[in-house]
């Protein structure tokens, strides 16, 4: 029986559970002996001209060996904006601010000490003379340029435009019985991986840099470092230690990583940096940060005739990956629906806030949130059950690729089945009955039922000729095997799953297979882990390499057994070749590796990205007197094709659901009008805890893709994409009978309470103890 599809426990766990992982700050290496520590001095002002930076007092502090400012690094290139030609390249980020600081938390200088505590002390002695400039914080102000511009050379805050807003059809909604439009906020959130950013760097006598950095793909990190340092990538070795979560925010490299490497070269001494959580919350890229205007129109029978999405994206102070997010949102704008007509345009602006980058889902949760909110707004307007509106408008099941109006090619899907499955699993009808009773009784705690349908894109790849990944599989004479992969796990469990894939082909036990990643000298090429690409491309490459290895070994076995290769059968149970009809005449793979190395490196190329889909139902209790939301249930159908290890796939789903739900009712990065971050510590940022979520209910559905032999699509971001709108919709649904149509995320008690106060039906609850004696503890 195949090991694939079974709940194999992770091989990496014993280490994590006993000695703990070896994260960058844990790395002990003789090359790092005597390393100095780098501490960043960061701007406390959102927008200011830097008149001078005086490090003299800091240099006299105990343990300080050096200090550097933007002027010292002025010869280095900017961290370039992504997608040249699409994003304004004048809006790249300097490694240390030079003449102007553009967000609170921007690195301005570094102090170098023998001990990290000394760095924290000495950083306070760096005297920076700031001349404040008008901060540009509000998105609309930024777009109009009224509040000033961040980059005078560009003379605009617009970093990129996606589609022509002036070219939107004037007749898109002609013929609609009902048209609803609303501007909604997909708020800025912090990826906040538990491990903050870090670097350990040393330059060898050969002039090469070795850098340990927590990342999502050592090869991409090497490229980014090379660009920022202005050197040949061949001169850099990036090593990826264990990585304590990433969620999109550890792709490539940040200015701080490059500065630490630069310091190590300048001082001829190994250098280390481990950021504080405060630094992490103000200087690691944030996610989402879109203002969306949705317009939806159709008939009173529930048929949606037209949908329009207009996006205003906040890139933060510099154009990084966040500037590109509208492209992904637009690609997925109509989601799983068969709208008659759809349009989407976007514009990205810079503001004096932390730069925005990828965050779990990166552009697709924003698309789903917009369309799912629009569907509910439409359903409320025509007075139809939101489930019925979805039923009417979902694309029917398809088995041949379906091309959307936005150019996405959905590989396979059965969206109506996912919706019916989740409604059944949630017992939707009973929930509505329960809700009706509470409404009739006027309970203080009202029940909300929300849903979402989604389709997302995974494994998009950036390369021409189709998304791809490489893998090497080698058999050793002792019967063990090693896999080299271009993916880069940080919690996903590739060490276990890649071993399962090879084991299934080669008959070598999982615990005898070592999986290696994240060393650019060992594995020079690779796409890393992000966009939920790893299994469908990296895993497929491991399987392909294993199969090709059997072919290579077959010829050697034929020579060894003096038989015709065509007469040999591979017996995975014994990990050996045998002559057909004569099982005694056999040779194990291990022996074939004894005389000559037995390995295959291969590249798997997919025909394109895949499009996982699903549907969520969320159930909340909302206290109509206090606005407090209690998330009671999340039921999720997430179809990501064939599942290789259900235990790990479920783990991805749980984590995604929680992160998405947290955006709906808890998490938000907040700035005041001057650009001061008000959520710069874990005491202020409402990071989701165990008490704020229930256990989740997962229903399985697996529609294989034909785009890889495994039949697998990506699962890493599904939960985040589906749960945010389901939870948001459920909160609004709880108050729908009072006339509440929309509450922006996060639906904090204050926002919910305010929505109730201004709702037409709120008076019902203004008297005391209305209705029932039901406990407030929803």
């Amino acid at each position: 029986m195949s090991i694939l599809g079974t709940r194999v426990l992770r091989t990496e766990d014993p280490g994590f559970l006993t000695t703990g992982g070896v994260y960058t700050d844990d790395v002990v290496d003789e090359r790092l002996a005597g390393a100095c520590h780098v501490f960043f001095v960061r701007s406390p002002i959102a927008h200011a001209r830097i008149r001078s930076v005086d490090v003299s007092a800091a240099l006299r502090a105990p343990g300080v060996s050096a200090a550097f400012t933007g002027a010292d690094l002025a010869g280095l290139p900017l961290l370039a904006a992504p997608m040249p030609g699409m994003i304004d390249e004048r809006m790249g980020q300097p490694l240390l601010a030079r003449d102007v600081a553009r967000f609170v938390g921007e690195p301005v200088a570094v102090v170098i000490t023998d001990d990290p505590y000394q760095g924290e002390d000495a950083a306070e002695l760096v005297d920076v003379d700031y001349d404040p400039l008008p901060p540009v914080i509000d998105l609309a102000d930024a777009a109009g340029g009224e509040a000033g511009v961040l980059f005078p050379d560009a003379d605009t805050n617009v970093a990129a435009s996606f589609g022509d807003a002036a070219g939107l059809s004037s007749d898109l909604f002609d013929g609609c019985d009902v048209v609803v439009t609303r501007t909604i906020v997909n708020q800025r959130v912090a990826p906040a991986p538990m491990e903050t950013r870090a670097t350990a760097a040393v330059w060898g006598e050969d002039g090469r840099l070795t850098a340990w950095i927590p990342n999502q793909g050592a090869q991409g990190t090497r490229t980014a470092l090379a660009e920022m340092l202005g050197i040949d990538p061949a001169g850099i070795r990036v090593i990826t230690p264990d990585v304590g979560g990433a969620f999109g925010a550890k792709f490539g490299a940040d200015p701080e990583h490059a500065v630490v490497c630069w310091v190590a070269r300048r001082l001829g001494r190994a250098a280390r940096w481990a950021e504080t959580r405060n630094e992490n919350l103000v200087a690691m890229t944030h996610g989402r940060a879109q203002r969306q205007t949705v317009t939806i129109g159709g008939g009173r029978d529930g048929t949606v005739a037209a949908y329009r999405l207009e996006i205003l994206q906040d890139a933060g102070a510099y154009a990084r990956f966040g500037a590109f997010l509208p492209a992904l949102t637009i690609l997925m704008a109509p989601g799983p629906y068969a709208f008659g007509r759809a349009e989407a345009v976007g514009k990205t602006v810079v503001t004096n806030t932390t730069p925005v980058g990828a965050y779990r889902g990166a552009g697709r949760p924003e698309a789903t949130a917009a369309v799912e909110r629009a569907i509910d707004l439409f359903a409320a307007e025509i007075g139809m059950d939101p489930a019925d509106v979805r039923r009417k408008n979902l694309l029917p099941k398809f088995t041949e690729p379906h091309t959307t109006a936005f150019g996405a090619v959905y590989d396979s899907g059965d969206y109506p089945a996912a919706l019916e499955k989740v409604l059944a699993a949630a017992d939707y009808q009973s929930l509505r009955e329960d809700q009706a009773k509470r409404r009739a009784a006027g309970d203080v705690v009202q029940l909300g039922i929300g849903m979402s349908c989604y389709v997302e894109i995974t494994g998009p790849g950036m390369e021409a000729g189709g998304p791809r990944e490489n893998a090497t599989v080698e058999i050793h004479p002792d019967g063990s095997a090693t896999i080299l992969t271009g993916t880069s796990p940080h919690g996903q469990g590739h060490a276990t799953v890649w071993a399962m894939l090879a084991s299934d082909e080669l008959g070598i036990p999982v615990d005898r297979i070592t999986v290696k990643w994240g060393d650019t000298d060992l594995i020079p090429e690779g796409g890393g882990t992000g966009g939920s690409r790893s299994l469908q491309q990296g895993g497929a490459a491991v399987q392909q390499a294993s199969r090709e290895l059997i072919d290579v070994a077959r010829q050697r076995a034929a020579d060894e057994l003096e038989a015709n290769a065509a007469d040999l059968v591979f017996d995975a149970g014994r990990s050996a070749f045998a002559v057909a009809g004569d099982p005694e005449a056999s040779v194990p793979l291990a022996r074939l590796a004894a005389d000559e190395r037995l390995f295959v490196r291969t590249v798997f190329t997919a025909p394109g990205p895949t499009f996982p889909f699903g549907a969520h139902v969320a159930v909340v209790g909302v206290d109509t007197e206090t606005g407090k939301v209690v998330l009671r249930r999340v039921v999720a159908v997430e179809d990501a094709g064939t599942v290789v290890n259900p235990l790990l796939a479920e783990g991805q789903r749980h984590g995604g659901i929680a992160q998405g739900a947290a955006q709906a009712f808890l998490e938000e990065v907040i700035y005041d009008a001057d650009g001061n971050p008000l959520t710069a510590t874990f005491a202020d940022y409402p990071f989701l805890s165990a008490t704020e979520v229930p256990s989740f209910e997962l229903a399985d559905m697996a529609t294989p893709t034909s785009y890889n032999p495994l039949g697998a699509k990506g699962i890493g971001e599904a939960g985040t994409i589906g749960s945010t709108p389901a939870v948001q919709n459920s909160i609004i649904d709880a108050l729908a009978h009072l006339g509440v149509r929309h509450i922006d995320m996060p639906a904090s008690p204050q926002r919910v309470w305010r929505a109730l106060q201004s709702a037409p039906g709120a008076a019902v609850f203004s008297s005391t103890g209305a209705g029932s004696n039901e406990s407030r503890d929803a």
Binding site: L9, R10, E12, D13, P14, F16, L17, T18, T19, G20, G21, V22, Y23, D25, D26, Y117, A192, P193, M194, E195, T196, D242, V243, G244, G245, F247, A274, T276, R277, N278, H490, G491, Q492, G493, L647, L648, E650, G651, H654, G655, G656, I657, A658, Q659, T681, F682, A683, F687, L688, S689, A690, T691, V693, S695, F696, G719
Partner: protein, 158 residues
Amino acid sequence: MQVQLTVNGQARSDDVEPRLLLVHYLRQRCGLRAANVGCDTTSCGACTVLLNGRSVKSCTMLTVQAAGQDVTTAEGLAADGQLHPVQQAFRQEHGLQCGFCTPGMVMAAVGLLAENPHPTEAEVREGLEGNFCRCTGYHNIVRAVLAAADATAAGMTP
């Protein structure tokens, strides 16, 4: 100043700066790097260790405050190469992904079960409120703690 304490059963005596946090002492001086620093506000619990059997956040204690006391880190939990029932349950239930919160989460769970050997799901969630995890959504962590409680009730030594 000189401080004497017991770490994972071993008596130690070290000269430390008075302001040295216990977590940094464990990581830098003892070479015990399972406990991690995940925040600077006593919020996340990645640094949780046991002090005389009760879970504490080692980022919020000075080393000198642990003088004369008994500190247990995740490294000191497994005995004779056998995972502790809580560690075993975390593996069995897939209660960890990236692993960064894990040593602290496990120690918090051990502390929780010492105080309340048969917690309900709600009690587990409340007991772990001070330990953050970004990967698991807490689902499998809660299952793991409940499973560890069951395993302990079934006769395994905590």
